[in-house]
């Protein structure tokens, strides 16, 4: 018993050490979104490329779709762009949220690098961004057939994150749709 007591500080040290060691590898930027499970917030905004067309939440259509927050000042968005083009080609609708940008810069970007978006909502004041709980760009939301935000992904989408984070959830949503149709 006495021996055991002598080892207590060492034991405590090891426990503390394990926790702190784990902490070294946590990503402090990865935070749960408060909006997962919530519907997409309402908005009424212009688009980047379609003149004076005003879009609202009702214009976001699809069994599931991505809402991708991007900007021309965002370096990660440029890295992400080719992956978005691929995803768009594979048949997943992507809607853009052009976050705190200028029309000139963003339309030039879409012209130069091609446009993966159904349309890009022009969120010049960042109001929609705040309602979406956006921290920065790029950020991507996966939204299901009922307009519910199923996931918020902060960071660059690449092949790996697409397959690991998005594909399984998309499969789940597809299953849910099939089940609802069967009923």
């Amino acid at each position: 018993m006495k021996r055991f007591v002598l080892f207590l500080p060492l034991l405590l040290f090891i426990v503390l050490g394990v926790f702190l060691y784990k902490g070294l590898f946590l990503n402090p930027q990865a935070m749960p979104s408060a909006l997962e499970g919530q519907p997409v917030p309402a908005f009424k905004l212009l688009t980047v490329r379609q003149g004076d067309r005003v879009v609202t939440k009702a214009d976001l259509k699809g069994d599931f779709y991505l809402l991708n927050v991007w900007a021309t000042w965002c370096a990660g968005c440029k890295i992400e762009h080719p992956y978005l083009l691929d995803i768009s080609k594979s048949g997943v609708p992507i809607y853009g949220v052009n976050y705190r940008d200028t029309i000139e810069d963003s339309s030039k970007w879409l012209q130069d690098y091609k446009d993966p978006y159904q349309f890009s909502i022009f969120d010049v004041n960042g109001d929609l961004g705040v309602n979406l709980g956006v921290y920065g760009a790029p950020e991507t939301f996966l939204i299901d057939h009922q307009g519910i935000i199923r996931m918020r992904y902060a960071g660059i989408i690449d092949t790996n994150s697409w397959q690991v984070k998005f594909m399984p959830l998309i499969a789940t949503i597809k299953q849910e749709i099939a089940q609802e149709k069967a009923l």
């Binding site: 749960p32 408060a34 309602n131 709980g133 921290y135």
Partner: protein, 163 residues
Amino acid sequence: MKYIAAIIFSVLLLVGHDANASSVDTYSFSKPEYQIRFQDMAKILRCPKCQNQNLADSNSIISQDLRRQLHRLIEEGRSDEQIIEYMVMRYGDYVLYKPKFDKVTYFLWLGPFGFAALGLLILIIVVVRQRRKRGQSSEIDINEQTLNVTEQAKLDKILKKSN
């Protein structure tokens, strides 16, 4: 000379203070108390992007946006609670520098008291044990501490030598 230095110094102080305040106070308020509330709220709300700064400190885009929203909400006459709810709904409990007291944070809030109690308990146990030991062993201690005849002779010898 001293006076000139003092004047220059105080002018610099004033200028410096002004520059410091202007990064936050570009908003105009319809009531003076709104400005105080704005400043207080900007201090307790955390910038979601730059993790160790509050809204008042940070100059990131998201903080600028949130400051604008904060200004709007205050001017609309919302209460502090409503504003906090607005921020938490969008950014989670993370935006609060002072965490809420709920089931997730019980350990955080009560942990220190728990540890203090544990420490106190250990201290009490150690002290009580020591006391008890001393009480039991006091007689033996006296016996052990007195030297027998040969030992005393040895000690005398050493003492004499060193003298």
